[in-house]
Structure formats: structure tokens, C-alpha cells
Assembly symmetry: C2
Homo-oligomer: 181 residues x 2
Amino acid sequence: MKKDNHTRYAILGLLTTGCNTGYSIKQMIDNSLSHFWKISYGQIYPTLKSLVEEGYASVRITEQEARPDKKEYQITSAGIQLLQDWLQMPVLELPTEKNETLLKLFFSRHQGKVRTLELLDNHKEKLEQRYNTYKGIKEMIESRLSDGEDAVYWIMTLDYGLLTTNAAIDWCESAKEKLTK
Amino acid sequence: MKKDNHTRYAILGLLTTGCNTGYSIKQMIDNSLSHFWKISYGQIYPTLKSLVEEGYASVRITEQEARPDKKEYQITSAGIQLLQDWLQMPVLELPTEKNETLLKLFFSRHQGKVRTLELLDNHKEKLEQRYNTYKGIKEMIESRLSDGEDAVYWIMTLDYGLLTTNAAIDWCESAKEKLTK
DNA sequence: TTTAACATGTAATACGTTACATGATTAC
DNA sequence: GTAATCATGTAACGTATTACATGTTAAA
């Protein structure tokens, strides 16, 4: 396996969460990891293929009557080991999010204040939507998976999303005030 | 200019801030935009070249005695117009930051609690460094550029960084407590 | 009847980093 | 003498998205 493509580890890790097809991995990512990781099918299927080639996963084709054929992937013991090795590698750098709103704000002296207020309003609205989405997922996990070993960790990642999103919402308000006063 | 590459607009925008060489644009990004946008030389120089080709910037070569030749770029009126058009285009999607720490945390049932606490500690430490960096930049802008038209907006982007980083630091503490109790 | 959900995959393209290449001056 | 700063640029590579291609079933 190539050195440091975290997306590969994400896919490998998801094989330990009950997701065992490309399709269900994609769903899981969209539903539960989307606030800190996104992956498209264009990465998932080729990656699954190469994980099998390298011995970190195995695959079994299941025929289904009413549905297209399924490829069910299982993580191997070599795969578990690799996942654990990756987990223990220290994180060297904080992520830089590419924030289009902040980029536009940075250059906002070139546009009217009204437009800038609209920019902030739009951002706030989207943040509020995001906040509610996270809250929904958290409640879902708490009610349906609270006994699972993974649940504690999953909820922690959601709390991160909730807290930082909330801080960003507050910031929008104070930025708007700063512009209008 | 190709449709929606925001990095191109970032470079175009920086030409309005007194940065007029590839080198100084890179410095500006590393110093003042790095919390929401990063660009490498591999993007900057080709982009400047194509901005000139498309008429959004002009260039003038300056010979310097004691230094390598300089290419000084100026934004054209077509460039200003393009920048303004871009500013007015609504932001459609919130960014998803790829957060390696959260990804590892998500799969942390595969590692011991001690390791997970180390993961969180390491993250917190890096966040604190970042917080102090932002604070330093903010103070610098307030003392040296507070009269410029750009300053208000630049400080708002820094406040965003300070607020959300602070929320993330708080989260680290609460996550650690959750794991130890 | 048509849309959503299930299911897999590739090719073209876009975006971005890193390593390489060059070279002078100044400060330690 | 050697590291840092100034200064520009390309080629190779890595990463990721999008569009395309295919096909079934269940529900509205």
C-alpha cells in the first residue's frame, strides 16, 4: 500500500464498521463522515480493488435475485494490522480548510457592504443547516448504536462538528454587526 | 479564464493588495491567508502567466542590481471586473475540511485509550500554536494596517480562525475527559 | 411511468504538491 | 562557509471529481 493516502485508510477502516460494499461505504461516508472526509465512487471502487490485490481485504461475490450482484469486502488480518499502524502514526499537520466565504470576505472591499452582508447571511444559513444535520446524526447514533464499541468515538467527532459550527455561527453574527455599526 | 477555480481568483485578488510578484503573493498567502487558503509556487507562476494571456493582468520586468530580475504584475480593469463578478457569485457549498485527527478518532476503537488521548493532546497542542499565530497576525494588522481599506475584512477572517480554533481547543479537553472518566 | 434506491465501474479531466533547476546577496 | 532571503519556473506525480456506461426493482 502506498505510503500516506489517508483516503485509503478511511476506506479500509470502514470495512470494520459493517460496510462491506462500495455502495454502502459511500453511504456511510455521506451520512457520517462527511463533516471531515468526503470520497467519491471514482476513488472507492479502484481503492477496494487495490486493497484486495495487496492482501488488506478479501472479496466475495454475492448473487442477489432482485438486485445487481454485490461484491462483499472483508478486511484481512493484514488489513487490521495496517489500520492500527496508521492509527499510531502521529498527525503532523492541522488541516487547512479552503473556505470560499472567507476568501471572498478577504477581498470584500471590492464590493458593497450590502453584498458582504449577503455573503455572511448565506454562510450563516448554511452553517445552521449543517448544525441541524449533525444534531440529527448524533441523535440517531445515540438511539440506535449507543451500545456499539464505535459509538463513543463517532459521537466525539460529531461533537467537534457541532461545537465548531456553532462558533462559526456566532462569528457570522458578530461580523455582521461589525459591518453595520 | 476557466470557470470556477477559486485559487485563480485568490491570486487575482492578491494583485490588488500590493503584492505584485509571484514571490510576494506566496508570502502573503503563507502569512495571512493560510488559515483558509494555501497555494504553492507550482500554481502561482503558471496562473500569473495565464492571467496575463487572458488580459486580466499585465506584467513588467524590472531589473534589479543586487537581486534576480523581478516580474511585476498589475491587475487590469478587466481583472478588477472579473474579481467583482466572482465576489458576487453566491457561495454554494460549505467547505469540508479533511481532518486527519477526526478520521483517526472515528476508528479509535482499534487502538488503546492511551493512544487516543495522545492523539487528542497532539491535536490540542497544534491548535494552540495556531491560535497564537492568528493572534500575532491580528495584532500586526491592527498596529500596522489599521487605516487600510482592507484591514476590516482581514481582521474578520482572523476572528473566524480565532473563534473556531478556540472552540476546537475546548472540544479537545472535553473529549479527553469523556475518555478518562 | 418515472423516480429513487440499489449496485459497480472507467476515462477524462481538473486540481494541487513536490522535487528539481538556477543563481545572487546578505547576515551570521 | 553556510544558511536565509530574494526570485522564477517546469515536469512528474499524486489526488479527486465528474461524466459516462449499465441495469434491476419497488414505490409513488
